[in-house]
Structure formats: C-alpha cells, structure tokens
C-alpha cells in the first residue's frame, strides 16, 4: 500500500518550480478571472440543461486565441479543444509559447478522459435494434455510413496530447495517463519525480474534462454518483458530485532550468504522493490519507489545505475525518481536481481565497499561506496529496 515515490526521501533531488499555469473552467478563463471568482465566492452551476443532474458548465471560450487553425479545431471534440486551449494558456504563462528550442525538450503528461460519442448515431442504432430490425449487418451498416472518420481521433485518449503537440509544438515526449481522478495526481507525481531525479528538465502537465456530456453523466449515474436537483457545497451534501468542466495545465521545471531562462515561479512543487486504498473497510481512505500526509515532510502553521473532495459518499466522509485531524489549518474545497493550480495561484497571490461553506469546515485565513497541501480522494479509487510551497 505504500507509495513508492516517497519511500526514499534521499532520492528527492532537484527542486521543481511551477512556472506556468493555464486555467479554463466553469469559473472563467485565465488566472485573474479565477482569482476574482474565488474571492467573490462565485460558483457556476447549471441545474436545468441536464436536469435532474447538476453540472458545472464550461465558460465559453474563443478557441481561435489558442488554436488558430479552424482545421485543427474541427479535428477535435470539446474536451480536446478545452485542453489544448488551457495548455496554450500555460505555455503563455510560462513564457515559452513558440519557443521551439524549449518546447522540443518539454515532456508532456496528460491525464485524459475521452470517448465523446456521436449521440445521434448511437440513438439511431439503438432504436433500429429495439424495433427488431437487428439484421446482422445493422450495426456495421450504420456505423460505417454514419460515423465521421475523424471522430475516432477525437475520442482517443492520447489525442489530447497529440493535439497539444500539433497546435503548440510540444514534442519532448508525450504520455497520456487514464484512470479518473488518480490519473491527474499520477501525472504530476511522475513529472515531479522525473525532474527531481534529473530525467527531465521541464514538463507540461495537465488534464481536460467536458462535463456537458450525457454519456459521461451516464457512467456516474450507474453508480448513483451524480448530484441531483439543486447545487450544494460539497460539505453540505449527502452524496453526489457535480461534474466539472475545464482544462488545467501546469508548466513544471527544475529550479536551475527556470533560473537559466529567467522564469519566475508561482510556487515550488515539493511533493506529490499517491496511494490506492482497497476501500473494503470503513476508514481505509482516512488511513490512506494519513499515510500520505506523513510523507509530505514538515507542514508548518502557515499552511492551508485545498481539497478536491467530490461530495461522493462514502469517500467524502472519510476525507472529512482526515481533515478533522488538521483542524488548525484552513481548508478549502475546490470542488475540482484543479487543486495544484489553485494552490500555486494562492501562493503567488500571497493569500488563500475565502471560505464558501456554512458547515464550519472552512475557516478564514488572514495570513499569507507559505505551504498548501493539495488533497484528493477519487470518488471510487485513488488518493493523492501534494505539497506546494512558496519559493
């Protein structure tokens, strides 16, 4: 059960800085709009389009700004466009957009979903089948005739990374991790481990998700995980998450690499650890999170916690039990897996955004945070934790 990356603290070598952040979510686009939204306690929810399911809808983006060729935009489905857009924002933020020397050495790890389907084609097949017109060739005929050939490329998980390579010229390497919430944690974990060990100098790490998809809601509806009817902050929910939309990318590089090119850090990424509790017994997740916490190194009094807790039961309760053990630290539930970006943003702004919670889990923080622990427990599997610190 032990996380292997933190068992050998001596192997943690080079310091890694977060030097670029690209954020495009339901709260807006770019760092300022996110900071403003967090400080004004804005939450963007759509309770009607997919009623009774509640989702956080994507901000409308002008894709041309980051994906100049219409042909490229047409080759992507929404989740890829959102991600490619956010990757561009991150490269801009790090000051390496268009710098082919650096981009050709930049290692990319993307945490991906995929599989956006053609709902009309699926429906046509289903209706023909159920009416007994299920000649052997029916499925073949409909799919051969009705599927857009390029749709496959818009569905393939590794084609978000592929599009980032094509549109932004990031070619050092390209790896795509899949596996729900844990994939994002592992993407950051592996990128940091490689940089710390000198296997990589600079990495582009990120993810994208389109919440406004019925087939995506379906997968979670099978397990009764969707938040229904009315939005409520995660700490007030019995069970359920509202799927969030967004693209989030970070540029992470070794301190030496950043200094050599005169890049300013938003924050230092000190640790990323992950675990896979079996979740067979009550308390397994709390134990897993306790174990991860112990691997972070010293967490001081000027620390805060940002959690991506989902609101899903029973895991949110177990995460809350873990957080109760750290009552002295201010906690924020981002409701998203974007915790690393929000932590780096908060550290760079010298403040934690205000609480937005009536249950008392979240408290004010008057002083600037010097450390932020980012916590994530996947709705079904996967626990992760990261330590983001002021440089």
């Amino acid at each position: 059960m032990a996380d292997t990356s933190a068992e050998h603290p001596s192997s943690i070598g080079r310091e890694a800085w977060i030097t670029g952040i690209g954020l495009a979510t339901s709260l807006g686009e770019g760092l300022d709009s996110h900071w403003d939204a967090l400080n004004s306690k804005t939450v963007n929810v759509d309770e009607t389009t997919f009623a009774p399911h509640v989702v956080h809808p994507m901000t409308k983006l002008t894709f041309d700004a980051q994906i100049p060729k219409k042909g490229d935009q047409r080759q992507m489905e929404a989740w890829q466009r959102i991600g490619t857009y956010a990757a561009g924002l991150a490269l801009d933020s790090a000051g390496i957009k268009g710098n082919s020397d650096i981009l050709s050495r930049t290692d990319m790890i993307v945490a991906a979903g995929g599989g956006e389907r053609d709902l009309a084609v699926d429906s046509a097949v289903i209706n023909a089948s159920i009416q007994g017109n299920a000649a052997p060739a029916l499925l073949n005929e409909r799919l051969m005739n009705d599927l857009r050939p390029t749709l496959f490329l818009a569905q393939l998980s590794n084609l978000l990374a592929g599009n980032v390579s094509i549109v932004h010229g990031v070619t050092g390497s390209s790896r795509t991790f899949m596996g729900e919430e844990a994939a994002g944690v592992d993407a950051a974990r592996i990128a940091l481990a490689r940089i710390a060990a000198g296997q990589s100098d600079i990495a582009l790490v990120g993810a994208a998700q389109n919440s406004e998809r019925k087939e995506m809601l379906m997968l979670y509806e099978f397990g009764n995980f969707n938040l229904k009817n009315k939005f409520a902050p995660v700490w007030e929910r019995d069970n359920g998450f509202a799927l969030g939309a967004g693209g989030v990318f970070l540029v992470i590089e070794s301190k030496e690499h950043a200094q050599a090119r005169g890049a300013k850090p938003y924050a230092k990424l000190s640790r990323v650890v992950a675990d896979h509790a079996r979740r067979k017994a009550a308390g397994d997740v709390t134990t897993s999170l306790d174990g991860l916490w112990s691997k972070l190194g010293p967490v001081g009094p000027n620390a805060a916690i940002i959690t991506g807790t989902t609101g899903a039961a029973p895991v949110t309760g177990e995460e809350r039990a873990f957080i109760e053990k750290h009552r002295d630290l201010p906690v924020r539930a981002s409701g998203t897996p974007f915790g690393l970006a929000l932590a780096a943003l908060s550290i760079s702004r010298g403040a934690l955004f205000p609480p937005n919670d009536k249950t008392g889990v979240e408290i004010e923080m008057a002083k600037p945070p010097s450390q932020i622990v980012v916590v994530g427990a996947g709705h079904w599997r996967g626990e992760g934790m990261a330590l983001v610190e002021a440089v």
Binding site: A2, D3, T4, S5, S10, S11, F50, G114, L119, D122, S123, I126, N127, I130, Q131, A135, P136, A137, N140, E141, M144, L147, P149, F152, L153, Q155, L156, N158, L159, A161, G162, S165, I166, V170, T171, G172, S174, R175, T176, F177, M178, G179, E180, A183, D186, I190, R194, Q199, K214, M218, L219, E221, F222, G223, F225, D275, W380, R381, G382, G384
Partner: protein, 426 residues
Amino acid sequence: MTATRDKFGRPIVVVTGMGVVTSLGAGKTDNWTKLTAGESGIRTITRFPTDGLKTTMAGTIDFIPVEPFSSTVLSERLADVAVEEAVAQSGIGSKGDFPGPLFLAVAPIELEWEPRNELARATGLTSGIDYDALLKASGSGHFTGLHRRFLFGSVADHLTETFGTKGSPISLSTACASGATAIQLGVEAIRRGETDAALCVATDGSVNAEALIRFSLLSALSTNNDPPQAAVRPFSKNRDGFVMAEGAGALVLESLESATARGAKVLGVVAGCGELADSFHRTRSSPDGKPIIGCVKNALSDAGMSTDQIDYINAHGTGTPENDKMEYTGISSVFGERAQQIPVSSNKSMVGHTLSAAGAVEAVFSLLTLEHQRIPPTINYDVPDPAIPFDVVPNKARDARVAAVMSNSFGFGGQNASLILTREPV
C-alpha cells in the same frame, strides 16, 4: 562482484519474468514455437457479423472465451494470463504481493454496445430512445456494475488488487506505442531508486465491430481478407494496411542488484529507452522522419550505445504503406549503410497489430530472440518493395548471434518509443 550500475551510474534494469498471449496462443513456449515456424494467428472473424465490412479478419483471441463478449473484460483476462506467467517465472514476492508499482498500457475504456442495448431495453420504450432516456434508465441501481467495469482505471484496479502491486497503479495510453511506454515508466522508476521492481503490462482485446470500423474508416486496415493468414505484409510492395489483433505482454523489471541478491535468473537487460513526439499530423509521421530519427537516437543515447552494437531490429512494421516507408526512412538515416544489412523483422506479420499491447508483446519476443539466438521472420514477404531495402528475414526464421535488439513502436497522435534490450549489461 558484478557491477550493478550502468556507465551513467544508474541502477541496471533487468527482466526476470515475462508473459505473453497472442492469437498464436498463451505463453512463451507456444508463441515462440509458432512465431519461429512462421505461423500466422490471423483468422476470419467469427465473433461478430462482418456483413458490409471491408475487413473481415483479425488476430482475435477466441480460446479465452468471454460471454457476452466485452473488449474490456477480454483485455483484463489477457492481462491476467500474461502477468501470471511473468510473475511465476520471476518468482518475485509472494502470491498476491508484488513488491513494486504497476504500469499498465490499456486501450481507452468506454461503455460497449451490449450494455448500451441492455440499457435501451431497460427504458421500456420501443421508439424514440435517446440519451435522455438512457440516462434516466441508468440510475435505477440495476447497473452499478457498469460503473465499476467501465471506469478507465478498472483493469489496473483489478490487476493491482489481484497481484498486490504497490502504490497508485498507472493506466496509460500512447496509442500503438503504449506497451513500450509502460516499460519505459518502469525503467525510470527503478533508475530513480524509488523501487527495486516494477510490473509492466500491456493488454488489448479491442476486436469488436465498432473498433474495427473506426480503424477502417481511417483507411488504416488491410482488406486482404482471403486468405487471412496472408493479410499482413510488412515491408512488401503489396502491403495495404495493418490487421487488428489482440494480445498481452507482461514483464517483471528489477534492478540487477535486487535480482542478483535474491538469486533470480536474469532474462535480459532493458539498456535504453527513447521517445519523441511528432507534431506533424494526427495519424501521419513527419515526412522528413525527424521524430522517428530522434526517438531512435534517444534510445541509443540512453543506452550509451552506437548503431553498430545493435544486432537486430524488431520493427514496428505494421504493414501500412505509410508506416513501413517512414520506418525505413528513419532507420536508414540513423543506421546509414548498415540499414540494409542488419536484420529487421516484423512480428506483426504473424500476430497482427496488438495495438496497446504491441510494445510489450514485441519486447517479450525480442527477449526470446536474445535467449534463443534465433530471429523470427517477416512472413508474407513475396513481393519486395524496392523502396525499402531492409533484410526483413523473409518468411523463415534465422539463427544469428544477437546480443542487442532495438524494438520500435510508433502510434497515432505522434507517439514514438524505442527500447534497447540486451543479453548482458552494456
């Protein structure tokens, strides 16, 4: 006392267990016998109706039955078979307690047609069924199992819980290079000193109607349906596409130090890994070959080896007009005149393209090549392509002195990965 670090001071990474399953059979023995006999695992598809399809054959694995058929379930079973063989051979850990992390190459998972039609029936409607109706039916509590089954991480969850790997299991996709990437992640983790062992697995059970049609619509598949055994023709002038196939490969990687300490038999060394992404096109390689050239050079430099130390190239060799040409362009640019002398064969001529699994399946075959000092052939090589003057080891296996193999994998989305496998540490 043998050195346990390479010339760069990194822990030497060795292979102590291997498992493989392909359309040729389950296990190394069966696969190696058939592979070196030049047998093909490609057959006419019987799993689903092929009416109206341009391609009607594939390297399906029908000897491991899954009823009703599900690509995700088959992928998981294939992985189980390969991992059991690999772990048993290595003798590492104890049952259900593998002392290291899991890196799993797996095809992207999504809900399949069988459960989608079941949901449609559950709506109670007989017409006008749309995704609103399906979504409504999904929440009845009758389909909880579908959530567990069709999560992206579900196959990795199963493996990590069955074999007791440690930490957070990683499910990854770099398209047709995925298997090589899984191995590269394991090598890197051991070199960092994070772990003494890693379980690197790649599996693919994707031959279903929709997946076949998706590739067919991209004009990527061979339509040489009759006879199916002659469909895959890597490096031949009359090649016309790849053939989808199923399989799994598993490797137990360990530091040489750890393997030596526990007295494990060393099957080979992963001396180097290289990768480089291509920004040219979603499905095509850059016409100048630069990304492939860079990838191959990265692998050589990671191993600290030169081209004249490579004795055999286990090619990606899909049999598509584009891939094979670009592979020659890339290899000949790096290897110079030696490109026409060094043996270069394609396992895919016999087992088809096992997609996400290919990199690991071919790494296992490369290691078996090192063990047996025998190079599997490229079959169906009857009409040489003058533009690709490789020594493809045509049609018959060949005994040869092989100390180092380069195994290449290239995929959609600009994915390129190369591995260098050796008998002894270099």
